[in-house]
Subunit: 311 residues, 2 copies
DNA sequence: TAAAAATACTCCATAGGTATTTTAT
DNA sequence: ATAAAATACCTATGGAGTATTTTTA
C-alpha cells in the first residue's frame, strides 16, 4: 500500500464514481481501477459496493476512510514541517475566521501580514466557531481566528485584542433617551439577532439577557449584512462588537452606534491552534501584527475604546 | 514518499545507526542510506545529525518522527480492519495487563479465550496502568486489562468483575484477635506495599488510610512476589485482591488471608479500549469469557466472595 | 445502447540489491 | 586502521499509461 491508494479511496468516497475520482487524482480511470483493486486484494476486503450508478463505500471502506483521512492530514503536516525548516517564515497558513471578524478585521491586517511574512501564503476560510474547532482537530486548517475562550483540551489560545460592544439602532432612534445605554433604556426595544451557530448571536443574547431584554422571536438574520439592513429600515436594535461598529459608522449613514453603560460588555478575539505546534512562535508574531493593525485602525478613527491586552 | 520511508525514520531513531536500522527493516544499509537521503531531499530538510558514532534525529526529524509513528499506527489499524472484515473472530489482539492481575487471572482464562476465538492471536504485555493508557492512545495495544475506573476521555471502559480485598498476614500472626479484620485489629500492624506506579499500591494505601493505618516507610516491594516473601518471613501485612489471595492460599503455606470487616474493600477489574472501536463487540464477548472463567475459578475453590457484575 | 468499470498489455520510474569508495575517529 | 555511511551501478517490481472488452440499467 502507498499514500496514493489512500487518496484514491478518499476521492472515490467523495465522487462515488471511478472516472471522476480518477480525474481528481490526475490519473486515468483504468489506473485507478487497477490500483484500487490491488488495494482491496491486499487488505482482503471489498472497500466499495459497486452499484449500477457509481459506487458507495462498504462498511470496511468507511472505517478505513477515516484512518486514510487522518494519515493524509499527518502527511501534509510532515511536508509542512519540511517547508517550515527550510524557511520558518514561508510556507502556507490555512486560517479559519468567524464571519463577524473576517470582513471587518482582515482588510486592515492583510498588508501588514504580507509585510511581516512576504513569502507566506495565506488561505482564509470563513467558518463558524464549531467548524473552526472541528477543522483544527482534523488538521484541515492551521489557525483559527475567533472569539475566545473555546476551552478545548488540545488547542492553545492566544488573545489578540478585546473589543467593546455598541448598540446599533436606526438613525435618530435614540429620541430623548440619555446615553450610555442602560437597562432602562432597553425597555421595549426590539432585539434582532443572527441565526443559530454564530458566536456573536450567543454573545449578544447573553449581554442582553443580563440587561433583562429578550429576543425578537419571529426573525433571525442569516448574516451580519441582513442584520444591518433590518436595523436600517427601523425593525429593531442589536449589539455589535467594536470593529463592526467602526465599519458601520463609516458606511451606514442610517445607523447610530451607541455606547453601553458600565460594565461595558466586551469580547476577546484571538487565535487558536494545535497545542505544541512547531509554528507557535510564528503564530504569536502573527498575533502581534494583527494587534498592531487593530491599534492603528482604532487610532486612525480617533477612538480608543478597544483595549489591547497586556502581554 | 511512502510508508516504508517512515519506518526507516523510526528505525533510525531507535538504533541511531544506519546498519542496525537497515537490519531491523530487512534491507541493506546502502538501500536505507539511499532512500533516506531521497526522503531528506523531498522534504528539503536534514532529518539526521550525522555524528561520528552513529546518528541522532534533528529537530525536524523529531517533529516528523511523531507524525510518522501516528501514521504507522493508523496504517496498522487499516490492515487490522481488513483482517477483521475477513473474519471478525480472527486477527491479533495486543493486550496490556497490570502485574497484579495478569499472572493470577490469565492462566485461568487462556484456554477459554482460545476456545472462544480459536483463530485469534493473543499478545499479552505486562504493563502498569499509566503505561497501558499511553500505549492505547498511541495504538500500540488494542486492549487494556486493569483496575477501573481510569476516567479517560477517549477510552471506553467495561467492567468484568469485582474482587474483595483480604489481609495477607504471616501464618499464625492472627493470634487471639477476632475476625473480621477491623480498624482496631490493624493497630500496630506493619503495612508493606508495592513501589510507586502499581495501582495496587494506591488501592491498598487508600483502604488502609480509611482504616487509619499508615505505611511502613523504609520499604517498598518492587513486585508482588517480593511482597509475599516479606510477609512470609514475618515482616508485615498487606491487603491483596481476591485472585491473588486465592493463589496464595494454595501456594503459600506461610501466609494467612483474613477477611476485612464491612464495608469490605473491593476493586473493579475490566477492559479499556479506544472509543467506538470497530471490535467493540468482540471485546465485550472477550469480557464475558473472562467473567465466566473467573466465576468458574471461584466456584472451584468453593468461595463466593467475588461479585460478578450485573449486565 | 450508453455509460461505467474491468481487463490486457506496454513502459519506465524507482525501490532494492551488490560492490566499492569515502569519511571520520 | 577500522567502522560506518555514502556512492556507483544494476535489476526487477509495480504504478501508470492506452486500447479494448465486459457489464448492467
Amino acid at each position: 500500500m502507498n499514500f496514493r491508494d489512500l487518496e484514491y479511496l478518499i476521492a472515490l468516497d467523495q465522487h462515488g464514481h471511478f472516472g471522476k475520482a480518477a480525474q481528481e487524482c490526475h490519473v486515468s480511470q483504468p489506473t485507478l481501477s487497477g490500483q484500487f483493486k490491488k488495494l482491496e486484494q491486499e487488505l482482503g476486503v471489498l472497500l466499495l459496493d459497486r452499484k449500477a450508478k457509481g459506487v458507495v463505500l462498504s462498511e470496511a471502506g468507511k472505517a478505513i476512510l477515516e484512518r486514510a483521512k487522518r494519515i493524509t492530514a499527518e502527511l501534509n503536516q510532515i511536508h509542512e514541517i519540511g517547508r517550515f525548516h527550510q524557511n520558518p517564515r514561508a510556507g502556507s497558513l490555512r486560517i479559519g475566521v468567524i464571519p463577524t471578524v473576517g470582513p471587518y478585521l482582515l482588510p486592515h491586517c492583510l498588508k501588514n501580514l504580507r509585510k511581516g511574512f512576504p513569502e507566506m501564503k495565506y488561505y482564509f476560510h470563513e467558518m463558524k466557531t464549531n467548524e473552526i474547532i472541528h477543522a483544527l482537530h482534523e488538521r484541515r486548517i492551521d489557525l483559527g481566528l475567533l472569539a475566545l475562550s473555546v476551552h478545548e483540551e488540545r488547542l492553545e489560545e492566544k488573545v489578540i485584542y478585546k473589543e467593546s460592544f455598541y448598540l446599533a439602532v436606526p438613525k435618530g432612534h435614540q429620541g430623548g433617551k440619555a446615553l450610555p445605554v442602560n437597562e432602562k433604556w432597553l425597555l421595549n426595544e426590539q432585539l434582532l439577532l443572527l441565526e443559530e451557530g454564530h458566536c456573536l448571536r450567543d454573545q449578544a443574547l447573553k449581554l442582553c439577557q443580563d440587561r433583562r431584554m429578550s429576543e425578537m422571536t419571529n426573525f433571525r438574520a442569516s448574516s451580519i449584512e441582513t442584520l444591518r439592513a433590518m436595523i436600517e429600515i427601523g425593525e429593531g436594535v442589536t449589539p455589535v462588537p467594536e470593529l463592526i461598529a467602526l465599519a458601520w459608522m463609516q458606511q451606514a449613514a442610517e445607523i447610530d452606534l451607541l455606547p453601553f453603560s458600565t460594565p461595558v460588555p466586551q469580547r476577546e478575539i484571538g487565535l487558536i491552534y494545535a497545542k505544541h505546534s512547531i509554528r507557535r512562535e510564528l503564530f504569536n508574531e502573527l498575533a502581534d501584527i494583527i494587534a498592531t493593525s487593530v491599534a492603528t485602525l482604532i487610532k486612525k478613527t480617533s477612538k480608543r475604546s478597544i483595549t489591547l491586552p497586556v502581554y
